[in-house]
């Protein structure tokens, strides 16, 4: 079976620059069939400023960073709006969501765990796939040194 692919759009969701986005950035370089773009939803201006500084400081300018004003109150809804807008002009959209994989049972109480929620929220949009990229934090990294 011959498989031909149109060029799609890959949206790498970033909240800030830390180790959890590294696998997503590495994946972005592999997605040659996609036009890759980092997307940040600007709920908080201080975070936007910090992100922009880190993005430049770490030399990530090879990947365009789009700061979007959220059109909805919740992160999942705001991302859905962006994806619905982009899917109109692209053959398919791949949404990459970096997420923390934490070692203790109570850690989810302290973290939003938005990745899987976003994936569920986008599931019914045609021509959209979501990748939740977990970054595993070892228990030893969270004890006092």
């Amino acid at each position: 079976m011959a498989i031909t692919l149109d060029r799609g759009l890959a949206l790498i969701l970033v909240g800030g620059v830390d180790r959890r986005v590294v696998p997503a950035l590495a994946l972005a370089t592999q997605l040659q069939e996609f036009e890759a773009r980092a997307v940040h939803l600007a709920f908080d201006l201080d975070t936007v400023r910090r992100l922009a500084d880190d993005w430049m400081g770490l030399g990530l300018t090879w990947l365009p960073l789009h700061v979007e004003e959220p059109e909805a109150a919740t992160l999942a809804d705001a991302i859905r709006r962006v994806v619905e807008r982009e899917v109109v002009s692209h053959s398919r959209v791949l949404v990459v969501v970096p997420e923390l994989d934490l070692p203790r049972w109570w850690h989810p109480l302290l973290h939003r765990g938005a990745g899987r929620r976003i994936a569920r929220h986008l599931q019914d949009i045609r021509r959209v796939s979501t990748v939740v990229l977990p970054y595993c934090v070892e228990a030893t990294a969270l004890v006092s040194k």
């Binding site: 799609g8 809804d77 994989d101 973290h111 599931q123 045609r126 970054y135």
Partner: protein, 623 residues
């Protein structure tokens, strides 16, 4: 569907400006707690100074001087908090002022005290409201259902608040204003009768209902007077609410909030003083059978419709005092969460632009107290007076430091106002803590440090995580990791074709399709199908004679890790999307996919991707 019906449609972030409230609604939202205390503060004083070694006559004689002292304290606190509002227009009240000027520990003490106070406010107001409802003769039969009624009221107020502050304000403004009007009428008509009409309808004394022993004689020591004063000081609970919620006001926020606070102070002070002066003349007595308020209402209005309105309005305002806590707790917890002392979820706005996690948490905590105390939460009142005055004192002291630091025009006057506030509220704190220590004021001394320890533990977790996640340019390797993609197949269909195409597009180092077979026939059938479609992806088949799909997939992935030493394994699952997310068809098709996703959720370095295939809407897809 149910959520939309109860809570309403989602609001866009751009609508946030329209969610701000005008002063008229803000007064009802943020003042119901403070103004509701006029319904019980006078009685609280009498319960201390007219009983024990004292007498009703001595108690009534002391009532007005104590009320004047409380009103004076109210004036000092309102004046001080007006300064706070102008200095910190982004809200946060005592917590933010303490954080900016006094440091971490004082701010956490203020934050913990206020959060506890708000939870107690909801529990106490709801149970007081229920008590007022079931004391109306028609509803006395509901006394056994007080917990259930209380929980029902909490659900009602929670739902209204989840709709947004503007809507809850509109819903609950009317009862607050009805209470203010009827109480003004009670005080106005009563004092007119006393001073102009010279006709005093004294409350008929019923010794069998009097909570004390002697009506005359007795002695009133300084300790009892101070204790009475600290009981009356509960009238100040809720005064700080406006300074916490400044951002909820329409622009100019600070000026509107400061003016609303002034109005609240005037209304609260006037009504409280009026009720106390009237009580001095009408001579009601503390009783466990009928409230002082009810006795006064009966004396002034008789048992006509105005008395009934007074009773219903009192029940309404006592219940709605909880609404002030609903306006402030979520806002304060969001600020504390942004500082990383509470889980981040508290800083999230819901789709109605309110901090819905804070609202739900407050409802659960207050509901828990209501159930634990079987709906009788009056014993909790001394607990929150300590918290309130702790946060008042810290806030005022913080403002003194603020003025000294900035030295803006008028800073000397600012220092004087806030220093007087700090000393006055500090003295009251000592009085409340010492006179009510055995009545429960010791509890905050245990609870608040425990909450602070929790705050610090949460902060420590976030800081360690931040260190663990810190990244520098050397950490960002953009060369491809050793990446394997596995496509799970159950049978060959259009969804599998799409999933294989997607898997290829990831350009992994290794790619395989995985099929879990039940027996040799099944295995042969799948191999034939795969060959017929000529996929350019190798099919690997593992046997699972006992149909343990998840175990077979996990064992296969472990084998792959050993075979290719992967840094990342992506498991691609073709998934049908048949209509709505929770439709029967959807559940029927994707049970296995859901179970596998759940099982692999915590598998290290494993990415699970669903490739949706829209059955109804993609009829022309290739395959």
């Amino acid at each position: 569907m149910v959520k939309r019906l109860l809570v309403g449609r989602p609001l866009a972030t751009s609508e946030q400006e329209h969610q701000r409230i005008p002063k008229v609604i803000a007064l009802a939202v943020f003042s119901s707690d403070a103004i509701s205390s006029t319904a019980y503060a006078t009685e609280e004083i009498l319960f201390v100074v007219a009983l024990g070694s004292s007498s009703l006559a001595l108690g009534l004689h002391t009532l007005v001087p104590i009320a004047v002292a409380v009103a004076l304290l109210l004036a000092i606190v309102v004046t001080s908090y007006r300064q706070t509002i102008f200095a910190y227009p982004s809200g946060g009240g005592s917590y933010v002022v303490s954080r900016e000027n006094l440091g971490e520990l004082p701010s956490l003490i203020a934050g913990a005290s206020l959060l506890v106070d708000y939870i107690l406010t909801v529990a106490v107001s709801i149970s007081a409201g229920v008590a007022a409802i079931i004391s109306i003769p028609t509803f006395r039969g509901l006394a056994d259902q007080r917990v259930l009624i209380g929980i029902g009221l909490i659900v009602l107020i929670t739902t209204a608040n989840l709709r947004g502050i503007k809507e809850s304000g509109r819903i609950f403004a009317a009862p607050t204003y009805i209470y203010i009007v009827i109480l003004t009428l009670l005080v106005g008509v009563g004092l007119y009768q006393v001073f102009v009409g010279h006709h005093i309808s004294r409350v008929p004394f019923q010794p069998e209902h009097f909570a004390g022993s002697g009506q005359f004689g007795g002695s009133l020591g300084l300790f009892l007077i101070l204790k009475g004063f600290s009981s009356g000081a509960v009238a100040l609970t809720g005064v700080e609410a406006i300074s916490n919620g400044v951002p909820a006001f329409r622009k100019p926020e600070a000026r509107n909030a400061a003016n609303t606070l002034l109005w609240m102070g005037v209304i609260l002070g006037t009504l409280f003083l009026g009720v106390s002066v009237l009580a001095h003349h009408l001579r009601p007595y503390p009783s466990h059978v009928e409230t002082v308020f009810s006795q006064m209402g009966m004396a002034v209005f008789g048992d006509g419709p105005l008395y009934v309105v007074l009773q219903f309005a009192t029940a309404g305002i006592l219940t709605l005092a909880a609404n002030t806590a609903y306006a402030d707790f979520p806002r304060l917890s969001s600020i504390i969460a942004r500082d990383q002392y509470l889980p981040r979820q508290f800083a999230n706005r819901g789709d109605r632009l309110v901090f819905s996690n804070g609202i739900v948490f407050l409802a659960i905590a207050a509901g828990g107290l209501l159930v634990a105390f079987k709906g009788l939460t009056n014993a909790l009142i001394p607990l929150y007076a300590v918290g309130v005055f702790t946060s008042f004192t810290l806030s005022q002291w913080g403002m003194v430091r603020h003025h000294r630091k900035l030295r803006d025009p008028g800073w000397r006057r600012g220092i004087a106002v806030n220093a007087v506030g700090a000393v006055a509220t500090g003295v009251v704190l000592v009085i409340v803590a010492s006179t009510k220590f055995t009545s429960g004021a010791w509890v905050p001394l245990v609870v608040v440090p425990a909450i602070i320890a929790l705050f610090l533990g949460i902060k420590r977790h976030y800081q360690r995580l931040e260190t663990a996640l810190a990244v520098d340019p050397g950490d960002i390797r953009l060369d491809s990791p050793n990446h394997t993609v596995v496509v799970l197949v159950g049978r060959v269909h259009k969804g599998v074709v799409k999933a294989v195409r997607y898997a290829r597009s990831l350009r992994p180092n290794h790619i395989a399709a995985l099929y879990v077979s039940e027996d040799d026939d099944d295995r042969q059938h799948m191999e034939d199908q795969w060959a017929r479609f000529r996929f350019d992806v190798p099919l690997e088949i593992v046997n699972s004679p006992y149909r343990d799909l998840i175990g077979a997939v996990e064992r296969y992935l472990d084998d792959l890790d050993e075979r290719w030493h992967d840094e990342t394994v992506t498991v691609v699952i073709p998934e049908f999307v048949a209509g709505r997310l929770l439709s029967p068809a959807q559940l029927l098709h994707n049970q296995s996919a859901g179970a596998i996703k759940l099982a692999l959720l915590f598998r290290k370095d494993t990415v699970v991707t669903s490739v949706p295939y829209h059955v109804e809407r993609e009829p022309g897809s290739e395959g």
